[in-house]
């Protein structure tokens, strides 16, 4: 494994590309620390992916199938005819460069091929060669080049260095979304068996076991059991969540990361405490025990195959609607794909909060609401007893997850909640939040450990903004609504802004929420003394 350079070393970034070279002539150097390990054959086999075999990106020979060029070009023609976005985005970029310095990987690394426009050109140059006349006849002059092994490796290197965060799209005058192009590139590479281990493993797990982490039914229950114990220790209240229960009103789906490791587990405890306090008639599912969707990082088809479980389980259990937890990619999938793939969800009802009576017309078709929509509505209607002073040791800022911010515009709900459960909240600078938010740097399956340099570089813009509010307001807590964020921002904060904790919004809610019959709380969910309770003032 490559040694991770120090922050000082990483900060030596040059944004100006060398002027004496043509990027087309410069082959990609697959740099250790920036790449994830190749997919294992067994995982590819489980989901019936082509060319299942063990392979390593650092070796010369990628064990490609016969006529792989033909496979790719054929797939390209197919996707061009299936996706207007892909076709348009291949044709209309004017290379104005407005997107060039908007990608966190470019900002954190300075590699010119991480400029979204150039990342897309890696694909466009091949498109021009085989699908346009100017490219066919004028070749390099028209920005066209042949698809060869060098280009394929370059694709793999750079398209697995895009977190599909879509920030570039916000600034593009035509809305060109490099994430769309990345998704296509990943479809193509998957036809050759070129995924990464950190994606294909979770995909295979999710397919067979229902969640990315591969938690089997009893393991899920064990994990939840442990959290229930902790909740009892903290609040004196024993709660009793149910699983796979038919006839429940609501199915609750959250990323499995919340069940597995800190600090996600605190968020999961938060949901459970909240739902218990409300007396909500809900159930978890072990079959549909994943909200996130790593399939999205392989192919449209795989994403659909994984996502199918949510509606299928809602139908089997006979629930009225679904609440989804705090997760980023999950919400892009649920908002923009689920109903199209696996709908119509006409066996359910339009979500209606049993506590406030609010009808969520904005989810009239998908029948699925976000937990922050649900909770914000509760708070607005005065249904929760809250004591924000319990969070007074936390100076909080909020990280918009790319997918909730740019995929659906979930901006105010979490802020409203935080402002009601915490007294100390400070926004990061305007250019780094809401639709301009920065990726955690490790989305789309990049949260492995062998690519730490890449992750820290990609995480720099976010961390840099956190550092700003840390210095200015003493911020020590980075709240967010995404499981990947909770997992990966922790590492990035430790590296760039040590001392900053990462927390889910519902962890903060549960800290502040006064539960019926609770004992006097001494600690927060993390077992740390509450302000004024343990001499930590």
């Amino acid at each position: 494994m490559a040694k991770l350079p120090t922050p000082e070393e990483l900060l030596k970034i040059h944004y100006n590309p060398p002027q004496d070279e043509n990027w087309m002539d410069k082959p990609a150097e697959l740099k250790q620390g920036n790449i994830c390990w190749g997919a294992k054959g067994k995982n590819l086999k489980i989901v019936e992916f082509p060319n299942a075999r063990d392979w390593s990106p650092v070796e010369e020979d990628w064990k490609l199938p016969q006529d792989w060029e033909g496979t790719v070009l054929e797939a390209m023609a197919d996707r061009l005819s299936k996706y207007r976005s892909f076709k348009i985005f291949m044709d209309i970029c004017v290379r104005c460069g407005a997107c060039a310095d908007k990608c966190h990987f470019f900002i954190g690394g300075g590699d010119p091929k991480n400029m979204p426009v150039l990342r897309a050109e890696l694909m466009r140059s091949v498109y021009r060669k085989y699908f346009t006349n100017s490219g066919k006849y004028l070749g390099k002059l028209a920005g066209a080049r042949e698809l060869d092994l060098g280009v394929l490796k370059e694709w793999w290197y750079y398209f697995y260095q895009c977190t599909e965060c879509r920030r570039c799209s916000v600034f593009c005058p035509y809305g060109i979304d490099t994430a769309e192009i990345t998704m296509m590139a990943r479809e193509f590479t998957n036809l050759l068996g070129l995924n990464t281990d950190w994606i294909s493993g979770p995909v295979a797990n999710c397919y067979m076991k229902g969640n990315h982490l591969g938690l089997e039914p009893h393991a899920i229950m064990n994990s939840v059991e442990g959290m229930v114990d902790d909740i009892e220790t903290i609040t004196g209240i024993r709660i009793n969540p149910s699983f796979n229960r038919k006839g429940a009103e609501i199915l609750f789906v959250t990323p499995s990361g919340d069940l597995f490791a800190d600090p996600g587990t605190f968020t999961a405890m938060g949901y459970m405490m909240l739902f218990h306090e409300l007396g909500l008639d809900y159930t978890w599912s072990t079959y549909a025990s994943e909200g996130g969707n790593f399939g999205l990082f392989t192919s449209n088809e795989m994403a659909k195959r994984l996502n199918s479980k949510i509606y299928a389980e809602a139908k089997r259990l006979g629930v009225k609607y679904i609440i989804g937890g705090e997760c980023g990619h999950m919400w892009r999938v649920l908002n923009q794909y689920m109903d199209t793939w696996n709908g119509p969800a006409d066996f359910m009802e339009v979500p209606k909060s049993p506590i406030t009576g609010t009808v969520f017309d904005n989810a009239a078709s998908t029948k699925m609401i976000h937990v922050t929509e649900f909770t914000a509505d509760l708070i607005k209607n005065g249904k929760l007893k809250l004591d924000p002073t319990r969070n007074d040791d936390l100076v909080v800022t909020y990280h918009d997850s790319c997918n909730t911010a740019r995929g659906m515009g979930l901006l105010e709900e979490p802020r409203y909640i935080i402002n009601n459960v915490c007294n100390k909240f400070h926004e990061m600078p305007d250019n780094t939040i809401r639709e301009r938010t920065f990726c955690c740097g490790s989305g789309t399956g990049l949260n492995a450990s062998e690519n730490m340099e890449l992750r820290m570089r990609g995480g720099l813009p976010r961390a840099n903004a956190v550092k700003h509010v840390t210095e200015k307001y003493g911020v020590n807590t980075l709240a967010n609504i995404c499981a990947i964020d909770r997992a990966t921002l922790s590492a990035s904060m430790d590296y760039w802004v040590p001392g900053t904790r990462v927390a889910g919004v519902h962890e903060l809610v549960a800290n502040a929420m006064i539960m019926t019959g609770e004992k006097e709380r001494e600690t927060n969910l993390r077992g740390e003394p509450l302000p004024g309770k343990g001499g930590n003032e």
Partner: protein, 330 residues
Amino acid sequence: MKVVLPFIAVVGLALLALVGVTVAHQVEFFFGVIVPYAAVAVFIFGFMYRVLQWAKSPVPFCIPTTCGQQKTLPWIKHDKLENPVTTLQVVGRMLLEVLVFRSLFRNLKTEMKDGKIVYGSEKLLWLAGLAFHWTFFFIFARHFRFFFQDVPTLLRMMEGVDSFFQVGAPLFYMTDAVILGAVTFLIFRRVYLPQIRYISLASDFFPLFLILGIALSGILMRYIFKVHIVAVKQFAMGLVSLSPVIPQGIGAIFYVHLFLICTLLIYFPFSKLMHMGGVFLSPTRNMANDSRMVRHINPWNYPVHVHTYEEYEDDFREKMKKAGLPVEKE
């Protein structure tokens, strides 16, 4: 290479027309009639063809990039223009995009200062882009006076505004100055800014040089090598009434101007200039973020192989029973 070659190409094209019409007058028919008709035909059919090609590919998923608050609880302010849910709101978003380049307006400049990253506002590209496109449009519209016997009032008014700061005679158009400035800036920026230079291709310089050539030849024609205005009008009317005439003594510079315009028209459908049509079809901008409210249909959606609950239970039944989970089959 990528700068010089397009430049030479444009100069070459201009010379071709110049030499052509000065050396052999018969060629005027070629440059004055055949080429313009061909160019307009290529432009119209090429443009339509490209747009139809795009339109042929379906939009399988609802993928708008949202830039503001979604429509949700009634007491949360919904950002109608940046996160539209109705067609009208989408139209509003598109108008902002097409008429005032909303997204470019957001542009930022990223810089590293003492180990800190700072984001400054960067409006130059937006301003130059806007100036360029709008003046181009005005100048284009202004030319329609050549095609009307009586110039419509709207065109006259436009001219009035344009030549508001009258400098000498003939009337000096502000737009002429602006477009020269804007195009020069856009070229300069491509050469000067390292990142932009790195991403630029010959096909980015070619249209800029071409438009610069068109503007320059137009200006030369208007202010310096005065052409015979009545003859130009006669010529233009002939073209549009499909009974072309080649008036004498119209001046070679006119043919240079015309030929470069024709080149632009022919080049247009084959190039990135098609962004003019494409911007309207971009799914990230022209869709409503309503996929949770109404089901979006993918025409090529197909059934996939899934791991069903039954299979899952078969895999884990014993473990599930032991953990006290309900099962379908004992």
